[in-house]
Amino acid sequence: MRVLIQLRPSPDVVAAVAAPDLTATTADVTGELPGVALDHSYTPVALPRPHPAAGGGDPLSLNQRLNFSMAPEEASVLVRGEISDDETAARMALLPGRHNGVVAVYADPVIETSLTCGGTPPVGTWRDVERLLAVPRLQAEGYDGEGVALAICDTGVNSAHVTRALGRSFTVDARRSWTPASVSGSAGRFPVDHGTMCAFDALIAAPNASIIDVPVLLSRRQGGTVMDGLLSDAIAAFSHLRTLLDAQPAATRSLVVSNSWGSFSPLWDLAPGQPGNYSDNAAHPFNIIVGSLERAGADILFAAGNCGAECKDRRCAFPARPIVGANSHPQVLSIGGVDTNGVRVGYSSQGPGRLSDRKPDVCSYTHFAGSGAFGAGTPDSGTSAACPVAAGLVAAIRTRWPASVISPAQLRTLLHRTADDRSDVGFDYDYGYGVADTAGLLASLERRTARTALTAKV
């Protein structure tokens, strides 16, 4: 979290900061502060002290006529820094008492004039996403998704539409796809909708992956509404995916599972703390099967959700911590959204997550002109698009690095470590560890290859 730190250094330092003809630096004002990454590019600012204008006024009230003193003995100085999101509350509270000269620590919220929101036109195109993901380099180095199963758990895929939009064919693996019993239709032939967008976006980085079509959101079970699938359908779908994974040879095992869905409201759930609750309960059957599938070798990605503070989806009904249930599972990658300028979209849900604090894990690209699944000119948007974009990158990496060589947990760590950090202190609740970065990933994998070769020689 970015913070402003108010300090009261010696009067001569305050005078130097306040003097228009001098340029004092942060280093002139303070030494290092524990747990604070000081922003040395920020020029310290002198802050006047307010006094009641009338004699006998309340010295602590700002609701009266005030005079402001810039006298060096009275004024203070502001510097800027960043505190890890994990420790914000404790450090903001403790710094003023523990460190000489610190008067107070304040939040320094990001001011955005034109954050990308739901109604914003597309920001760039899928060709920009292709460039940002370094897809030509991925393909040149054999990272194209060939032989990798990429499951799209959503509303079903329309392969004819995706083929037209991409301008090339791709593979839907009908034999390994799965349709809930209550759903009619066959793999790759569902109406153009959300799942078609997800398949298109996943294929940007992994054009040769085999799409496993899992239209879990089309299910209409007893107890459900006309709008939604139920979590029990997702349990059945994941059980099918576990069967697929177990059928693969252990040495070449790879399955990437993209999930751009979640639970918007606590109304259909039991309250947190009750044993049957889903949103906050790692022991819920769906959270159990997610862990089981990951342990068997699957890379599981979930969209972080569209409940970001700046422009949340109107369906968002969790009053706080909107990354819930499996979307916040410690063994999945929770994906936030950035536009093609690398700026977080205002609807991308912020952490901490409910099952594990450090969510989202990383961000990927969304809100670009892509599949046209919702009509020409309508962007592929939501963390719904960011999730399959990231899943495509993971599938591309799996082309050469199966789960037997780099486990899903190791790959998550690799994505964390190589992400393009959008803050100065590593993890934060807006971007997670940063934007998933192809160049960083490939460089790290090259170093790993070199180390392995060296070890083999020795």
Binding site: V216, I235, G276, N277, N281, H284, P285, K312, T378, S384
Partner: protein
Amino acid sequence: MRAMVLVTVRLPQEATLEDALRRLGLTEDDVDTAYGLVPLDPEQGLYALRVTEEAGRRVGQAGGGGPFADPPIEPYGPPG
């Protein structure tokens, strides 16, 4: 329309829905037979079933797993 919940049961590998009904003391009327018995964690022998709320309560009171919520799920987009 009856509200349904999820329960879990531990059974040997290759167990059937009939095995689960026997273990939990349920009848076919209590469960969503089309949903069936779904393996959650094969190594642990853990399975899930969809049952009526009333059956879920009975399973919970008898020390079984659940009842667990079965909330609706929705696509995350486009944001509106």
